[in-house]
Amino acid sequence: MERAKVTWDGNESTAYVAHQLSEVIAIYPITPSSPMGEWADQWSSEGKRNIWGTVPLVVEMQSEGGAAGAVHGALQTGSLTTTFTASQGLLLMIPNMYKIAGELTSTVFHVSARSLAAQGLSIFGDHSDVMATRQTGFALLCSNSVQEAMDLALIAHAATLQARVPFLHFFDGFRTSHELMKIEQLSVDDIRALIDDDLVRAHRARGLSPDHPVMRGTAQNPDVYFQARETVNPFYLATPEIVQKTMDRFAQIVGRPYHLFDYVGAPDAARVIVIMGSGAEVTQETVEYLIARGEKVGVLKVHLYRPFSIEHFVNALPKSVKTIAVLDRTKEPGSAGEPLYLDVVAALAERSNVERLNVEHVIGGRYGLSSKEFTPAMVKGIFDEMKKDKPKNHFTIGINDDVTHTSLDYDPNFSTESKETVRCLFYGLGSDGTVGANHNSIRIIGEDTDNYAQGYFVYDSRKSGTMTTSHLRFGPQPIHSAYLIRSANFVACHQFSFLERFDVLKSAEPGGVFLLNSLYGPAEVWDHLPRTVQKQIIDKKLKFYVIDAYKVAQETGMGGRINTVMQTCFFAVSGALRVPRDQAIAAIKRSIEKTYGKRGEAVVQKNFAAVDATLERLYQVKVPDQVTSTFDLRPPVPPEAPEFVQRVTAAMIAGAGDDLPVSALPVDGTYPVGTTQWEKRNIALEIPVWDEKVCIQCGKCVLVCPHAVIRAKVYDEKYLAHAPQTFKSTKARWKEFEQMRYTLQVSPEDCTGCTLCVEVCPAKNKTETRLKAINMMPQPPLREPESENWKFFESLPEMDRTQINLQLVKDSQLLEPLFEFSGACAGCGETPYVKLVSQLFGDRAIVANATGCSSIYGGNLPTTPWAANADGRGPAWSNSLFEDNAEFGLGFRLTLDKRLEYASELLKKLASTVGGELVDALLHADQSNEAGILQQRGRVQLLKEKLANDRSSAAQELLSVADVFVKKSVWIIGGDGWAYDIGYGGLDHVLASGRNVNVLVLDTEVYSNTGGQMSKSTPRAAVARFAAGGKPLPKKDLAMLAMTYGNIYVARVAMGANDVQTLRTFLEAEAYNGPSLIIAYSHCINHGIDIAKGLEQQRLAVQAGYWPLFRYNPALAAQGKNPLILDSKAPSIPLQKYAYNETRYTMLTLSNEAEAERLLKLAQEDVDRRWKQYEQLAALKYNGEGK
């Protein structure tokens, strides 16, 4: 039977099978498994049915722990149930996995395997998570490729029903989960044929029901627990054979044979590598290459890892094997070896009692942690090592371990790439559409030709201005190359500015094609290329093409999206389709129609126009034979950067982090702060320029700037003596600083060009009202002069904090931000709040940050935005997990509280040395304002001086804790996914603890970091991932819940609606000696808005009463006043006026108008009802009022 060919990734392939075979699906987002849940949710919301003709019920839970619980419950009541997860999510499922296995329950968990957070979090792939579950009793079945992900998903679902042992089906995160590959799609008949309905009914019959009641989940005593635990043995013993038989049946139907352990290689191989996951594909490719050259090698690809069948394993090995290398994609510090290695050693040891094996060496090694590249060159390096008399055991491959010298050497130039396979590399900018276009290109090639096709995409760690790299392979041979392209026939650079930042032609093959998006035409482009680029074009004899894609895109209404233009060029110059140009163009147009057709005719036509306008603007450049350029690649960081940044950070910035040896990295995950300042990204096409004559010095632009690139200083005129020529300055508009000067300065190389500052600027030019006090201008001509101005500006002294009236926005924005140049999205709605914390309290703040957007832009290497001031003080920051952030931050508070108590005890003990007056002053200092804090710092300094020469243990102890006398500010920061969902239990407990912590919830109303999944904060009527049909229920009112305690400071703010209220709230919350909760409206790309209008949306949200502003201050209740103060007025516009500016709402009107109307009406009722509740609460009379 001819099956459909599709170009899918591992997640979609797996979800396709899982959705067909489930009744209940409980999900929770976590990278890289989220798309599986998203597919399942979307298919169910579109009414797609499973093989039994019913639509699976998909439910999002509050955490993976919750998902596992729901799965357990649904299984226990007899549903066919599945879930998708990875990494920490899988860890949260472990308790339930023991139960599910212990109760012999048929299920499949699909896992895109990912690293675990240890010294640092990583979203990338390895087997650490899966290996942490091998003790649970789940069968572990591994897919090594996208095709296998579909096939083995089915085999897992079929086998678990018969075996009764639950299955964890896994594949490599990103490498397989996100790799696009042309595969054969299993038909519904295939799936049907493998599932035995009698087994399904037996599973259902075992479910709990009051119609035939039983008990499960008893508590057992020493007398029987042990024996009961052993009852499952027959099931585990039978499972391998069941899986093999299922594989055999699958082979009969579909034609692809699988085995628990698949051996590929010479029948008489002496050296065999044992491996599972995508690395097995790489090893296979290498083995086949080496065999063709006469080497006696092989690879044993592991599919069923648990239950580990020693018999099947040993039988699969060739009898000739002398040396076995077992590769693990995980690390177990302190173990005798990694898990697969230990299993192999144990298997061979057991089996050697039975039969004579000739194995001389078994060595184990680690590879590929956190998606570290694993290439044929490394495989070859391992095989070479295995030839040695004493091959190294417990090795690593792919890194340079210069500390404990575990790493093997290999020749990185060794390559197994087939000449017939075309390899294409594309460098793009996140927002230019390159990756999306390449998704389409690889699908066109996969579906319009007989070629095999593979697409893999690499991103950097920023959310704005990121470089993306697309790796496309296609050709007549099946592709096993699960690694990045190192030698490309075709290289496209979609951003001219990359040429001076990265060596984009490093991977270009001699005689290849180089396509460049260039604003310079074929005649003048040569002179604008760095020397390295010129040299490579000449040396490698590259065919060089240019197109001004931005111009074509602009002219055809595509704006900044050059995807279609560059895609057209790719097909034109690469000859990828091996058909005449007009047929290739027709194929592109068909793909445009397919991708964009449902978004409307206008979008399709615009793309067609771009295709049609492209070819006449594509030019081949006549390459000169001399390198003539006078400039070259820029160094990644400036020479004045500190040593660590020069040595380590710079390599990561330059994309050479893979080359850093082990010794270069901190042993415990501790990194210096304030490193974003060294990474000048130059991503803005336009930057704001200050007009000092129009400016009213209100500070609003400084406040809202998400990236802290626009700053204000008031300073003495004398400093201007050495100012650069173009440096602007004007008279300060403060009564108290009348004699001083004021400057508003932009850092041109750090700005992202988001325009929030211009949007918020209230001052208009009186003679030309389109102009404001800041106006966007092209960056390139300003880059040099403004960089010089910025440097000078930085050298001006910071404002004396004690001279500032913190209650005023204008004043507060003279404070130095200690959170700067983050990699957040351009125009981010969260970072202005984070920055405000750093300005107001940064020099004495300690921050616990929940995993999410804020931990990524806050703490993702290479550089970090949290910074220190000139005194070396600044926020100390850490991220523990997603679910435990409140508790983590409380721990900080507990340390501080305990330490203050201890320090006070010591101080009193040492009163005679220190002096009664200082003791008293230290213990009873008023630190309610900046002046008080400054004085206390002075006292602590004095104390330290007095203790310096006292060698008594009490004095030494006090010295080590004395800093605690200066008031510290604990901030617990995270998003709504954390606060409303996964971390809510902990948050509630921490708020109830009464301790002095400040909680800042950056409320974007979805899980922003993982791509917009619904949280309990998501408003009714909005479309989100996992709520594709619009969220049917209202947003949880976290503030109201917290207010019920009475002793928690609770506030809701929206900077765009009322910045003064925001500022006051932060000051009050911090001043309140108890728990505080600030819920901050954070506009987000997930809302589907023009991000420049984010602040305007905040204003409308407040006007509509959707986001009432208020402060609930228990300190007022203590004074006999109503603690609740409403800071915004009753709704003055309908919700629709706010909501229907956002695609998250309007999407539903486009997909299901009647439902959108119904939900909007209910949402309006939610607003009205909640407003009334607040209004009534705020009107309550307390003891001291209105008697």
């Binding site: 990278t31 890289p32 989220s34 998203e38 949710d41 979307q42 919301s45 579109e46 979203i123 990338f124 990103f174 996100h178 996140g430 927002s431 559409g433 390159t434 990756v435 999306g436 995409f457 991103y459 760690s461 920023r462 959310k463 704005s464 990121t466 993306t468 999206r561 964009y596 449902k598 978004r599 409307g600 005719e601 206008a602 979008v603 615009k606 208009k764 009202t769 999205c825 990524i856 922003s1008 970091n1009 993982t1010 791509g1011 917009g1012 479309v1023 989100a1024 991932r1025 594709a1028 790309i1085 997930n1086 589907g1088 808005i1089 023009d1090 991000i1091 695609t1143 309007t1146 999407m1147 486009l1150 997909s1151 108008e1153």
Partner: protein, 331 residues
């Protein structure tokens, strides 16, 4: 028995009062109430070509914005199976309106490009509209564009739409043409079945506090009627197309004046927004009472009775009229 009936676009109407195109028409309930109050037909709110393009572009932008930038959030929205982009919602509205009322339902199309118009016009016809009103909202702001070019653009549009539909087509126009009579005649030749005089444009206003330009649309008053009366009176009997008055019709007297100037129908919106849909009932009663009092037996009897061709002082509608007004101030 007084006969209030008239004909417009070949449709037999029970009286000359037709609520004009406005957002009131977005609710089927309003349309029903208009019929109940006596409206002879309705002109639906406009389908804007730009709106469809814009919706599609906003959706596309939102779905694409920020995608494939960061590995954890490659896209931000579920890309749903279908979107009702394009005129589907509007066409459905026509179907619903047709099902809900028995009076003629005239659709309204507002656009600028030839391509878009033609396609949507056909769909509107297929959805069951009894006629189509083309609403040409165009401000000729380009200093290089001549009057002849603007007029040619309109004529091309009318010809293209006429060639693609069988239902009658009315053209709603602004008043800013330098040789309007000639232009009206050419629209007539191009096949327009009616001219609707005149569009009331949103006008820019200046916000002095915020130094912003803000769109404004005040409700009309009866004082705006005179401009319409002049041109209806001038054109009546000189072109084949029907004439309709829109803008400034509030009272029974306004309706009667429109009829006498030569209009087939008088359109109303501001009055309904101000006084409610039931206002139609009162106006109709007044029209009938006035006719009764003045012994008119039918609307058709009075239609065009005070057009330029029929009045005693035809010059009153031309420049002489201007002199007369000026002199009236010489007290």
């Amino acid at each position: 028995m007084i006969d209030l009936s008239t004909t417009y676009l070949g449709l037999k109407l029970k009286n000359p009062i037709v609520p004009s195109s406005s957002p009131l028409m977005q609710k089927i309930d309003h349309i029903k109430r208009m019929e109940d109050a006596g409206a002879a037909a309705v002109i639906l709110h406009s389908l804007f070509e730009e709106q469809i393009t814009r919706e599609s572009e906003i959706l596309d932008r939102s779905l694409e914005q920020g995608t494939y930038t960061y590995a954890e959030s490659l896209t931000y929205f579920p890309d749903l199976k279908d979107y009702n982009l394009g005129p589907e919602g509007y066409l459905e509205h026509i179907r619903k309106a047709k099902a809900a009322v028995s009076i003629p339902v005239i659709a309204s199309l507002n656009g600028a490009s030839t391509g878009g118009w033609v396609k949507f016009a056909q769909k509107i016809q297929d959805a069951g509209a009894d006629a189509l009103e083309l609403n040409t909202y165009y401000v000729a702001a380009d200093v290089h564009q001549t009057a002849a070019q603007v007029e040619a653009m309109y004529l091309d549009l009318v010809r293209a739409v006429k060639a693609s539909v069988r239902i009658p087509v009315a053209v709603k126009l602004g008043a800013y043409f330098s040789a309007f009579s000639n232009f009206a005649a050419r629209l007539d030749d191009a096949g327009a079945n009616a001219l609707v005089l005149f569009n009331r444009f949103y006008q820019p206003d200046l916000d002095l506090e915020n130094l912003d330009v803000v769109p404004s649309l005040d409700l009309s008053t009866s004082s705006e009627l005179s401009l319409r009366l002049r041109w209806v009176a001038l054109l009546h009997g000189r072109i084949k197309a029907d004439l309709a008055v829109t803008g400034g019709v509030h009272t029974a007297e306004d309706v009667l004046k429109a009829m006498m100037a030569g209009a087939k129908i008088a359109m109303m919106t501001s009055a309904l927004l101000r006084d409610g849909i039931d206002h139609i009932r009162g106006v109709l009663a007044h029209v009938e009472a006035w006719m009764d009092q003045h012994e008119y037996v039918s609307i058709q009897q009075m239609q065009g009775s005070m057009s330029q061709k029929s009045v005693a002082q035809p010059a009153a509608f031309e420049r002489a009229n201007y002199m007369k007004v000026l002199r009236s101030y010489e007290v």
